[in-house]
Every structure is written in structure tokens, then in C-alpha cells.
Assembly symmetry: D2
Homo-oligomer: 400 residues x 4
């Protein structure tokens, strides 16, 4: 029988904070009640802060992040439109597939899994697109499968340098609310996330923000859509309602998670993700293992994808951790299956939790056949956390 | 300040039973864990019992009932297909709109709000469709806006009598799990429901069952779809997984609600809905008010839409109940706004709750200007409940 | 199988409001943590407002109201002390028993069950007590078994008129936080309550307030005590701690319930109890049944004890309500068993709930053999609630 | 702001398992309902298994473990009775104080904090007690303040060897349900525990088991008691009721925790505590720190009390862990304050949690000025856990 806390280190759904969990423990209510908007309207406002947008329009679709992907595409593009996308991990691959299924003409740039969005190649292709055939560029901000964070601002610069007015789509499912993301500053037109990542809720809401330009495009877009229609959603949202029954318990949970983010401060949330991720990476380095991410500039602060040695099946590492130590690690997806396991370090997390992940992973790695010094990864992370703590204290002292 | 239990009598989301609520109060888990299927696979099996299908395939889409509508259409039909639909309430109207938006050629039969699906007219049109241009017939089994239950078996007979092989779509959002619904027996091809009605959960799952014929059609259907694709869903579901992150807390809640239905017995659930609904209708009759449903054969056992007298604004009735008595009644939708209020009597309910609804409604009606004898509706319902109780006891005695 | 909301109309434990329930749904914490006092110290302050005391000391003992009874006695009296008590219901009887067991010399005044504390007889006995042998007078403010509220202020006057300095003990278990109770103004020395009544929490905390005089007596009292010792408790409470592990989830729930009382306003809480109780009493009168309370001046606003007709077994009424209508009514205790059922109308309640109680009770009464007009009690209560509403509105209009 | 899971490593209240927490999230119910006993009666039976008694009588008092201490004493002894007790930690000291306050003539044997119950000295004193003046011997089975488990069976042997029929009281608050405890086999007369330790519930129930001999003594004992009276409790419990309102949510939680213990198997629960405790002790040894417990035979498997080096204030270790790492460690009590911190490893626990405790403690120890190698304690524990795992596997293989 499993005993004790289940240690959850997948990159989503993430650990739900107790205050959020409390808020979701409630009876149903009338989503057409006159005071329902008192709850919902503030959510839209506060979500804008998380997207760092002032001019954007935020929407929440009952569904998953995938649902929000579809909403973004079907409301702003037209059948047969050419779009520029990269494939460098499982989620960017799935996004390409969706775009193709929905009838877009996808110009795919394949780069190695572990690389980021190919900004230079995108720049070249945009420059070559003299007839403005490319209607949109898609960027997976944080490729959850590989633990790679791409340079969205760089893609915006590529667009600007070429005076190209393609829409900029960003999959921020595992970044928004956890990593630096600046919708307005970076000129993102469609920013997509889900409830079960940085927002620390169960899955069930696909959330997106659309720029003014994207909203304008949505008036004339001819792709077929119904459930995901922006116009219906925006019209009902104006008074705080939804075109169909929303998951009210998630909305109450969202109220709490937005309050938490506001209390901690979004900048502090982002800094904490960086600090904790760096601790995990120090541990991985101490093990002598490699990350899938090819370069430190690409390291994701929400998830680390770790390569096991050639003779060690990463699935076995995950199985041991799960069965014997009540710990969920993320699996290697698609071509990374068996070669990679992932540690999600996103959402409501602290140092002790990261050390739990490392200490359990050490035992599982060793039992699966990896040579390593027990405690070495933990020690490296501890050392980092302690130095970070001192640095912060010094910073505070100096600032006073 | 509001005090006391909030009395919820909208036709969905319905009251969540305590055991279901307990089951949803849990931390997140890995939806890719090896034992995740132990939870989910049984859900699919047990849902089949609720749909009363053996050969059908059940799917759950993160989303609302509307999401399941879209899934049903986009997976089994082709752009431009002619479909036969009726409009006799807000939800059937919205369904027509969706079909049109998704590019179907909708042959609409308008009947009065308060009438049921026009079986005879459908029969006539199917007979006239000698070229088999009609690819599907859509029936709103329970029109939640008007409190009308339609004759799905009759539509099946109309198809059969004309040897017509159009698909039969049924919106069972406010019927399945509460009213008599027999997918296999009635030859329903696409049966659609949501989590927040008879299944007594929060909103967040669009649930459907597809017949073998529907599954076959889905292999060749050329409508654009991605999020709602049957093939992806079915492939992943085979092992108990989902193509994207499912709302795990709802799955755990569903486990409990299906257990509840099994324990009570689906036939008993249906009989209870009939008994409680009849009590509410006795109350309405005692008030001298009319139901929107035109004929007793159409009366819905999950929701009663009640017309206020001409000079009484139904919105005022609802407002008083909500503001002064902490009671949510259903509003009149679209053309019924201000003329109708609704009492939802669906899901986890008992006699005392129905009497609460009637007693609060009496006060609200009177204060909004309706002439009635206080307590009269309550007394009529009480009398019915007592006679029903005696009848059941006699039945049990006789059976022993 | 039971379905629907369980209607709870016992006079405690009372219905727990959702916000309180949410607050109690939490993991354990260290009750010796440095910030634990941030939670607890404010509780003591806010409880003082509920007791309406400024100079009193509030304590919370893990236990029931009975536990607080014992704490009050053992800390302030000495073995063999004479105390003056009345017996007029099950709870005053139990209190007498406790006093006797704990070694007090109890001078008992027996009055009929249905009468209140015998102020005049107390006055006479106090006057006769020229040697000041009576060390304490005990008053059951609200006798939960009979639905009788006694005149505590009257007993204080009796003490004052006789210049008698006996301590005044008040059992306010089913009154404090719901009925008018004024510790300082009435000169109460030991006021006792529990968590599961007006404070709307589960059972588990015996709560009391001790006057300065009582605290002084506790320094020299020679009764044996350990668990319930004031000195240990007060010493630890000063920093927000407890001498043994407190039920932390109840403390968090208490935080919420005190916030609710503050938001509604204690005067409004008391007025609401009066309004709702009066509605129930109108219903009882319409049935033609009698309350146990002998005179309107004694009617309790937190519980009504209702006599069934001679030939009707009240246990049968309660059984039917419970088994067939998922409704808990209070039973007749001790000598009232079978003759009385009780409707608790205390705590988190509203009009609809009271009407549920009446409508279910009508069915149960009739099925148990009582002659009455179905709906009559409900109608009387509805009528009262409506007139009250109008009166309040007029009052507000006049005030503007 | 605190983020992430709060790591709780105090020796009670312990971590509440999710299934227990779910079970406690429920509305109030009538504790006098006819079916209430269906819940409670089984609890008494199953608690007997946890106490390992067949002939004993189990009682649950709303209160803390201290409450159960008092119940045990006041029901079975007489004022002035001589009892034999040892003082070797804070809780045994408090128990002595209680016995003195309640009027017993306590013969105290003081032994060092870190030693166990002085079996040989007890033996000597019992041998010398030729007039049978000692009416009871008290043993603190697990001294939570020092992390010492005493030899209860040894004390029983001492009694038997001297043909002494004093009652044997055992404080099993932090042992029963977690450590080997055999009431019948060891001839324990009064065994005491609380809800918030091995039973994995919040505080709120003082639980005890009384032998037939103890029950017999309770009929004639003349100590004053009321709230804690065995006779009242046993009489009501016979039908599943209580003499005052019990904390029903804890009873539902207890149902779950007893089910968990039964599912895991009490022997396995005990073995798990041993395995996890040993892991923690390996960590402590690797740090080069000492336990308070003087000898390995005394090591407690539910809590380790760890001495910090002379120059390191243990309070600082605890403060750092709490403030900076969201981790609650147990403090040094009374004379151990500042010299000792404790790691509770009792209740619902697993390897990952123990490693979290060690890894956080390492950082806190170092920052408070302790010299140690980061990761060293973690590595020692990991190594132990891995060897244990292999040993178990081999055992299972050999057994097949």
C-alpha cells in the first residue's frame, strides 16, 4: 500500500496549493446569477497581468491547453493559410499536426529536439516571404518535452526586421505564470496557456490572450468554429458570463491562484522558478548526466529533461520512483521515451520539494543501473540553495 | 449577508452529492502513471450502462456539453451534409446554429417552444428524402429551456419506417442518467451529455457515446477537427489515457457518481426523477400556473418551465428568490425571458428539496404580484409524495 | 439509498457554512510554530465580542460543552460548596448531576420541564442564605431539551438585590452566538458554550469565558483538576499556544465563523434567529400543536420542542422524517421521549431551510397519525416571513 | 510568501492521509440518529485490533491524549493512592504532575532524559512494596520528548515476578498504531493514545483501552470525575452513542485511518516505521550527531531527538527550517530547549519524506553553524533504504 505524501514532479498538472484546493471545495452555483460576474470579471483583469498585456483580450475555454490552441487558430486564420512552425519536441510536433489537420499550409522547420525555436531560420524565411504568404509564426515558448525555453522576443525581432505582419502565436502552456513572458512587449498576438501549469489548478481551462490585431482578424476569419468562437465568448464575458456552463469550481480556484501570484509578485514567482530550477540542474550536473536542452541559454526553469546513460532505461527510473517511492517523475515522450526522464519544477514549489525529487531520483537512477554517488546531486542543490539564500540576504542588506 | 444552505434548483449544474464532493477533494496526480487506467477504464464501462449501450463507444472530452455536440458533428459528418433538425427551445436553437456554423445544410423544422420534436413532420420529410440527402436527424431529447421531453424512439421509428439510414443524433445533456434513455434500443448513433447534470458533477466533461455506425463514419468524415477528434481519443482511451491532460478530479468524482447510480439502480434513479417531478408539477397546478410544455406527454422529469401570469415578470420572481431567500431558480431563456421561470429537479434530490423550491417560489411569486394561496403548492406536492409513499409500500407488501 | 441534501434540524451540531467547511479542509500544522499565535490570539479577542465581555478571559478546551461545564466548576469552586441550581430539562438535569458528582452540595429547585429558571424562588433562597453559604448560582440560559430561554438578567438582579456575591454560572451552549447574551452587563462569572452550536463548527471545543472574579477564585479553588486547569491554559494562551495539542482545523474553522458573525453583525445574527424561530412557531401554531415552553416569554429562538398529540408517538415522526425524507429532527429527551420532537433553528440558517423543516414535519406528523392540513404550517411561516420582509423594507425606507 | 508543500516532521499532529482528509470533509449529522451506531460500533472493534486487545474496553473522549490520561487515572484509582512513575522526559514529567494534582501519592523515579523506564528500579521498588501500597505503575511507552521507547513488557515481568497486582498504565500516545504494542500480552490495564499520532487524524480524540481489571476498579474508584466517567461512556457506547456530542468528522476520519491500517497490516505499519526511522538514524549518524536516546535498544521508531553540537542553538535550526524552507521540525522541550531538535517520523510517511527532512535539516544545521558534509545524511539514508529494498525483495523471492 502506498503511504505518505505523493511526490508530484511532472510538468503539469502541478501541485495545487492548499488555499486553491480549499477554494475549489464548494457546492455548485448558478452561473447565470446576477452576481456571478463579480467573481469572473476580476479574473479576466488579473489574468491580463499574468500575460503582461493591457490591450489584449483574455478568454477561458472549458477544455485543455490543446483546446486553446484550436481556438487561437480557428478564430484568426483562414483555410489554406501558410504558417511558419518549428518542430523540436513533442508538443511543437503536436501543434504542427493540429495546424495541418485544421487545414493550414504549414511550413515546418525541423530542428533537433533539444534546440529552441530557430530564430535565424525563421528570420531567413520571413525575409524570403516577399509576397506575405506567411500569415502566422508559431513559437512553442517552453517545449515541455525537452525542457527548452525559446526566444520569443527574438522571433518578434525577426518579424519586425522584415516588416512582416504575420501573427505571432505563442504556446505558453508551461511558461506563462512561471517564466518571463511579456505579451505586449514582445508583440505576441495569440498567447496560450492552461489551468494546470503555472496557474496551479487542475486541468480544465484552456486560457488564451488575443491581441487587438488578433481580435480584428477574428472578425473576418473563415475557418469553421463553434465551441471555440471568440465572438460568442467575448460577448458573454463582457457581463461575466459564458456561452456554456463554465467549471465554476476552477474559477473559484483561479481567484485564489491569482491572489497568490499577486501576493508573491509575478517577478518573484519567476525568480523563484529560476532559483529552484537551477538547484535541480546543479543536482543533475553532479550526477554527470546531460539535459536534453542543448545550451544553458535554452534551459527551462519549469522542467528539466534529463538523459539517462545509454544502458539505463529511463522508463525503469520512472517506474521505480513511482512504485517504490510514491514519486511521479515525467516520462520521456515520443522519440525520447526510455532515454529521458523529466523533473517538473513548476508551480507551487519549494526547496525541500526539489531535494525530494533529487534524492528519490538518485535512488531510482542507481537501482536502474546508473553509476552515481548517492547524495551527490542533493548536495549540489543544497549548496546552491544555501548560496542563493546568502546572496539574497546580502542583497537585502545592501539595499537597506 | 447570505446565510444558510444555498438552495440550487437550476437544471444544471446540479447539486453535487457529498460523496462525489469528497472524491474530488484531492491533490493532482500523473495522468500518465501506469495505474491511471485502473481508474479510467472502468469509467468508460460504467458510462455505457448509463447510456444503455453495449456496442457504443464512450468518450469524454474536457469541455462542456457543447463541446461534445461539436465532437459528434465534426467526426461523423461532411461539410455541406444535409441534416434534419427541429427548433423548439433555446438549446435546440443553439444546436441548429452550431450545425450551420460548422457548414452543414440544416433543414430546420420550427415548432412552438413547448412542443416536442416533430416526429410526424420528420417522418414526412424523411419519406420525401428519396435521394438520401439527409445524412443525420438531430433530436433534443430534453429541451432544458422549455421542460419538454421528446420522443426519441418515435424518431427512430420514423427512420426505420422509411428505411432511412441517416444518423440519429440525440442531445441528452439534461436527460441521460436521469430520464429513460436507451441508446441501443432506440438506435441512437450519437448520444451527448455533460458532467454537470444527471452525473451530478461540476461542468468540465463533454461526454458522448457513438454507435458502431458512427464510429465507422468517423473514419471517412472530412470535417476539420483536431481537439475533438474521435480517433485520437479512442486510441489513447484504450489504455486509459487521454490525448491531452484530463481533469482528474472530475474523473474521481465520476467514479463516485457512477457508483451512486449503480447503488440506487438506474431504473430507480429514473423513477425517483419521475416521482419528484410529479410532485413539483402538482404544486404548479395548485398555483394555477401553466407549464411551457404543451401536453403531459411532453413533461420533463428533470426541469419544469413555469409560466408566470401575464402581469408578473418572471425575472422578478427569480430575483426575489435569489436575493432574499438564497435560492437559485432557472431563468426563462431567450424569448421566454421574463415570462418563465424554471425549477430544475435533476440529479441528487429528494422530497424536502422539492418542497423547499415550491415554498420559496410561492413567496417569490406572491411578492412579484401573483395571486395564489400560500402553501397550496406545497400541500399538493406533499399530498402526492405521501400517496406515492403509500403506493410504494403497498407495492412492496404485495411483492413479498 | 439516500439522495439529496440531508436536512439537519437538530439543535446542534448545526449546519456548517461552506466557508467554514473550506477553512477546515487543510493539512496539519505545527501547533508550536512561531506564527501559530497569529491565528489563535485573534480568536480569543473575537470570542470576547461574542460573549459580550471586555474584562472576561476566554478559554477553549479540546472537548465538548460538557468539558467546559467541568472546567468552570473545578476551577472556581471548592469541594462541598453549596450551589443553587434548577432542574427543568435534560441539560439542566445533567448539569446538576455533574455538580453532585464533582462533590458540590447542590440545592436543587425542581420546576416543570417547560418552565424557565425560577428567578423568584432563587431570589427567595438567596435572601434566606444569610450566611452566604451559596457559593454559586447556575442558570441554563437555553434549555435545549425543552426549547426554553431563561432570564439570566433576572437572576443577576436577584443576586444584586440580596447583595449576594455568589458566582453566576451560565450554560450558554445553545444560546451564545445566537441569542441575546451579555456577559458583562449581566454579571455572568462563568459563561459556557461549545463549538457545535451558534459557532457553526463541528463539536470538539468546549469554550468558556470567566469573569475577573472567577479568575480570582480559580487561584485558590481546591477542587482537583488537571486537564481543565485554567492556570495552565491561560499561561499558554498568552502566547497563542495550548498546554496540549489543540484541534487546529477547528481553530481555522472558528476564524471563519467569527468572521461570518462579524460580517453579519451579532445583533443581526440574533435578530435573524428571532425571525426564523418565529416563522417555525407560526407553523407549529397552525398545526394546532403545543410547544413545551410554557409561555411565549420563554420561547427559545434556537430550538422549538413540539408536543405531538397524545396518541402520536413523536419517535415515529422523527423516524419517518429521517428514513423517508432524509431529514434529521431532534428527539424528545428523557421524560419527553415519544412525546416531543424538536426543530433546531440555530446557526447558519435561512427561510427556505425552515420551510423545509416544516414541510417535511407535516408529512411525518400526518403519517404518524396527526390530524392537520398539509401545507398549513408552511403557509403560516411563509406569511410571517413575507410580513417580516415588508416590515424590514419599510423600516429601511423610513430610515433613509 | 510561503510556497509549496509544508513539510511536517513533528511527532504529532502527523500528516493526514488524503483518504482520511476526504472522509472528514463532510457536513454535520445527527449523533442520535438510529443508524449512527453503524459507524461507531465498528470503530471500537477495530481500535481493539490496534491496541491488540480482545478483552479490553476501548473508549474515545472528545479531548486530547491528556484528556485520556486523566480519564484513566480518575476512573480507576482512589485519592491518595500510591503510584510508581518515572520521569525521563517532558511527557513523563507532565504525567507525574497530573497524577500529583489529581491527588495521588506519586513515588517518582528520576532517571536521565534519554534513558527508558527504569525496569530494574521498578522491580526493586515493587519487591520492597510488601504491603501492596503501590496501586499502579505508569510507563511512558514512547517518550516523545527524548525519542525513547521503553520496555513495557519488562515492567509487566517486574510486576509478575513480584506477584504484584498494581495496575499497569501505559502512555502510548506516540506509540500505539506505530510501534509494537501488545495490550493483552503485556498485561496493560490502561493504554492511552490520541487521534493525532499513529491514527493520522487531527487532534480531538483521547483514546484509551481499559482491561477487565481496570473496568472492575472503575466501579469502586472514588476519585471525582464527570466528563471522563467510564460508566457513562460505556453505557452510551454500547449502542454506538456518546454521553455528549462527539466530533463526528473525526469519527469518519478514524473509519478511514483504521481501514488504512488494516489494509497495510498493523505488522507492516510497524515494520515501515522501523525502516523509515532507521533511515533517519543513519542520516543522523552520518552527520556525526547524537541522539538523546542513550542506547540503540531505546531508539524510538516514531521520533528522533537529535542533539546539536554545543555551540549550535537547536532553536536556530528549527527557525531556519521553518522560515526559509517551509519545514516544521520538532523543538527541544523543557530542559532540552535549544539543545535538541526532533524529527517526527510517525504516521503516514514514506522514504521521500524522510529524505526531505534530512536534506532540509542539513541546510538548516549548517546555516546554524554545524559542520557537516551536505548530502552526507541523505546519502546514508538513501543507502539504507536501497539495501532494505533489496533485502525485502530477496525475502519475497526466497519466500516464493
Amino acid at each position: 500500500m502506498r503511504t505518505g505524501h505523493t511526490h508530484l514532479f511532472i510538468p503539469g498538472p502541478t501541485n495545487v496549493p492548499e488555499t486553491v484546493r480549499q477554494a475549489m471545495n464548494l457546492p455548485m452555483q448558478d452561473m447565470r446569477a446576477p452576481d456571478f460576474g463579480d467573481l469572473t470579471r476580476r479574473l479576466f483583469d488579473d489574468l491580463k497581468s499574468v500575460f503582461r498585456t493591457q490591450s489584449g483580450t483574455v478568454m477561458m475555454f472549458p477544455g485543455s491547453g490543446t483546446s486553446a490552441w484550436e481556438a487561437a487558430i480557428t478564430n484568426t486564420l483562414n483555410p489554406g493559410d501558410r504558417v511558419l512552425m518549428a518542430r523540436h519536441g513533442q508538443f511543437s510536433t503536436l501543434w504542427v499536426e493540429m495546424a495541418q489537420r485544421l487545414g493550414l499550409d504549414v511550413q515546418v522547420v525541423d530542428v533537433p529536439w533539444g534546440a529552441g525555436a530557430p530564430v535565424r531560420e525563421f528570420n531567413r524565411l520571413l525575409a524570403a516571404d516577399t509576397n506575405d504568404e506567411i500569415k502566422a509564426v508559431f513559437v512553442t515558448h517552453n517545449e515541455t518535452a525537452t525542457g527548452v525555453t525559446s526566444d520569443v522576443a527574438g522571433v518578434r525581432r525577426a518579424l519586425d526586421e522584415n516588416f512582416h505582419d504575420a501573427l505571432l502565436f505563442v504556446d505558453g502552456v508551461s511558461s506563462i505564470g512561471s517564466l518571463e513572458f511579456r505579451m505586449d512587449e514582445w508583440g505576441v498576438d495569440l498567447a496560450i496557456t492552461g489551468s494546470q501549469k503555472g496557474l496551479m489548478l487542475p486541468a480544465g481551462l484552456g486560457i488564451l490572450a488575443a491581441s487587438e490585431k488578433a481580435m480584428l482578424m477574428s472578425r473576418t476569419s473563415t475557418m469553421r468554429r463553434a465551441y471555440h468562437d471568440f465572438a460568442d465568448m467575448v460577448a458573454m464575458n463582457a457581463d461575466g458570463y459564458f456561452p456554456y456552463t463554465p467549471p465554476t469550481q476552477l474559477l473559484h480556484g483561479l481567484r485564489q491562484s491569482l491572489d497568490r501570484i499577486a501576493t508573491e509578485g509575478l517577478d518573484n514567482v519567476i525568480a523563484r522558478h529560476r532559483r529552484l530550477a537551477e538547484g535541480v540542474r546543479h543536482g543533475v550536473a553532479a550526477w554527470g548526466l546531460d539535459l536534453v536542452a542543448e545550451h544553458p541559454s535554452l534551459y527551462s526553469n519549469t522542467v528539466s529533461a534529463i538523459r539517462t546513460p545509454p544502458h539505463v532505461d529511463a522508463r525503469e527510473v520512472i517506474r521505480i520512483a513511482y512504485e517504490d517511492y510514491n514519486t511521479s517523475l515525467g516520462s520521456g515522450l515520443a522519440r525520447l521515451a526510455g532515454k529521458v526522464f523529466r523533473i517538473g519544477h513548476i508551480g507551487d514549489l519549494n526547496e525541500g520539494m526539489c531535494l525530494t525529487a533529487l534524492s528519490v531520483a538518485e535512488m531510482a537512477l542507481m537501482r536502474a543501473g546508473t553509476r552515481l554517488d548517492l547524495g551527490a546531486g542533493v548536495a549540489a542543490a543544497q549548496s546552491w540553495f544555501m548560496s542563493e539564500h546568502l546572496a539574497q540576504r546580502d542583497f537585502r542588506v545592501a539595499a537597506e
